[in-house]
């Protein structure tokens, strides 16, 4: 892939497409990953609130209790462990990454 030269790049390294970090995979940074145990989850939403990177995804699921289910966006979860720490019912396990 040919990268743009200095004449083509925007002044001051500004990024003109907002929200483009979704295109950058940061999941490879993880050493541990959170794994949500759906049966234990009370749908309190604390993991969703606390995740600093917005990688806990709330999924509508009519078959799930309260119509919601929580998933982790492993493409962007950096493995900080905040969700695991904050979960009041230990519904998140902290599992070593194996690659």
């Amino acid at each position: 892939m040919t990268l743009p030269g200095w004449k083509e790049l925007p002044e001051g390294a500004v990024v003109r497409e907002p929200g483009n970090t979704v295109t950058i995979s940061t999941g490879e940074w993880r050493v541990f990953k959170p794994v949500i145990i759906d049966e234990k989850c009370t749908r309190c939403r604390l993991c969703w609130i606390y995740c600093p990177d917005g990688t806990i995804i709330e999924v509508d699921d009519p078959n799930a209790p309260l119509g919601k289910r929580y998933e982790v966006d492993y493409e962007h979860c950096k493995g900080c462990g905040i969700c695991w720490k904050e979960c009041p019912v230990n519904a998140i396990e902290w599992v070593p990454e194996e690659r």
């Binding site: 990268l3 743009p4 030269g5 200095w6 790049l9 925007p10 002044e11 001051g12 390294a13 500004v14 990024v15 003109r16 907002p18």
Partner: protein, 396 residues
């Protein structure tokens, strides 16, 4: 003709006046000697309604510079004054302002750096900022300071440049000395520097990210863009000065040559001591020494071509530096630039004598610089130039 009013102003007040006449939108300042009266005067202008600007009372110079980055990033004309430790404390953010290509303008009342603690004037504070990507003017009078602040906005905000700029003046020797200054009506100043935001700004209607990461695939290109902007700034600064002269009748050039036409030896000086050197040149000329003076006005970008042309027929040049460069081959920031101008073809170079003077505001007399002129004449006649910096006024 444009209307001018003559006022008695210190350089601090002249700089504040120029910022007011440039209709700055945001000032963030943390007062530090010897620039404090400029910060106070700006606060007074805002308080009494003479200037419609936001004056941000910050807790440090680091915050002052940071607040201005934010202000400039939303399109404000942003200004501050500082000196010495304050400038060094700001420097982290000033590199960022340059990298973000924000046209902030600063007045710096240059002062020594601790330790030992010194509140007195010299150029140790500005010297390390030479590589930070800032346009740096050295001025030699309150009038020149006033005019240069206005010109600095013109150059900094030019789309070919978009870099922060500093107008540097001597602590105390200039900052606190009252001189006559012809000030221009704001209306006329704004004809010269109309308020037009041409740089990248944060705008909810067209969102962009500022302050992004430059990984090894990209960082280099952005640094090179800054270098290109610097190269452009030589021409832009020259144009800005010519346009200023056309509108207001005062021009300075990027360097100012004095009695250089038939000069065999020359001195390069900057800041307040360029005035002392000018008188010394006259005195030395009376004694038959064919010496001239080049006052360096624009330090960054360095006016290489202008200087090389001015020095074409000179056999020895003495550079009067106002800061030590500890551990370097020569003890001065400017002398190193002068020497490196000739690096690709040393055969074109005059011999270069390096002088340090006025360190920590050590007094420099006219006779000291007449002695320099005489020494340069001796060097021209074959006396060996010491392979190190000559320290004027240093006690053994």
């Amino acid at each position: 003709m444009v209307k001018m009013v003559r006022k008695a102003l210190t350089t601090n007040y002249a700089v504040a006046h120029a910022a007011k006449d440039s209709d700055v939108d945001v000032i963030a300042a943390y007062p530090i000697t010897p620039s404090t009266p400029a910060a106070e005067k700006l606060a007074e202008y805002v308080a009494n309604g003479e200037l419609d600007a936001e004056y941000v009372h910050v807790e440090s110079e680091h915050s002052a510079a940071s607040a201005l980055v934010g202000a400039s990033a939303v399109g404000a004309r942003a200004f501050t004054v500082t000196a010495s430790q304050g400038l060094i404390y700001m420097s982290e953010v000033l590199y960022i302002a340059s990298g973000l290509r924000l046209p902030i303008v600063l007045g710096v009342a240059s002062r020594a750096l601790s330790a030992p603690l010194s509140i007195w004037g010299d150029m140790h504070d500005i010297a390390p900022l030479r590589d930070a990507g800032l346009i740096i003017y050295f001025v030699s009078s309150a009038q020149e300071a006033y005019d240069s602040v206005i010109q600095a906005f013109k150059v900094a905000e030019d789309p070919r440049v978009h870099l922060p700029a500093i107008v540097d003046y001597d602590g105390f020797i200039m900052s606190h000395v009252t001189e006559p200054v012809d000030v221009i009506d704001r209306e006329d100043v704004l004809k010269y520097i109309p308020k037009k935001v041409t740089w990248n700004t944060l705008n909810p209607k067209q969102p962009i990210s500022i302050g992004t990461v430059g990984d090894p695939d990209y960082y280099y290109e952005f640094k090179y863009q800054q270098q290109v902007a610097m190269e452009n700034a030589v021409k832009v600064a020259e144009e800005a000065d010519k346009e200023f002269e056309k509108m207001f009748g005062r021009g300075y050039g990027l360097i100012e040559e004095y009695r250089m036409d038939d000069a065999e030896v020359a001195m390069i000086a900057y800041g307040a001591h360029a005035g002392t050197a000018r008188v010394a040149v006259d005195k030395a000329r009376e004694e038959g020494i064919k010496v001239g003076l080049i006052k360096l006005r624009l330090w960054r970008p360095f006016p290489t071509e202008h200087l090389m042309k001015a020095l074409e027929n000179v056999s020895v040049v003495g550079v009067l530096d106002r800061a030590m460069a500890l551990g370097a081959p020569r003890q001065g920031p400017v002398v190193k630039d002068v020497i490196s101008m000739y690096a690709s073809d040393p055969s074109k170079a005059p011999k270069v004598a390096s002088y340090a003077l006025a360190i920590g505001q050590r007094d420099v007399k006219i006779e000291d610089l007449v002695a320099v002129a005489k020494q340069l004449d001796e060097f021209a006649k074959g006396k060996e130039i010491p392979n190190k910096t000559i320290c004027i006024g240093l006690r053994e």
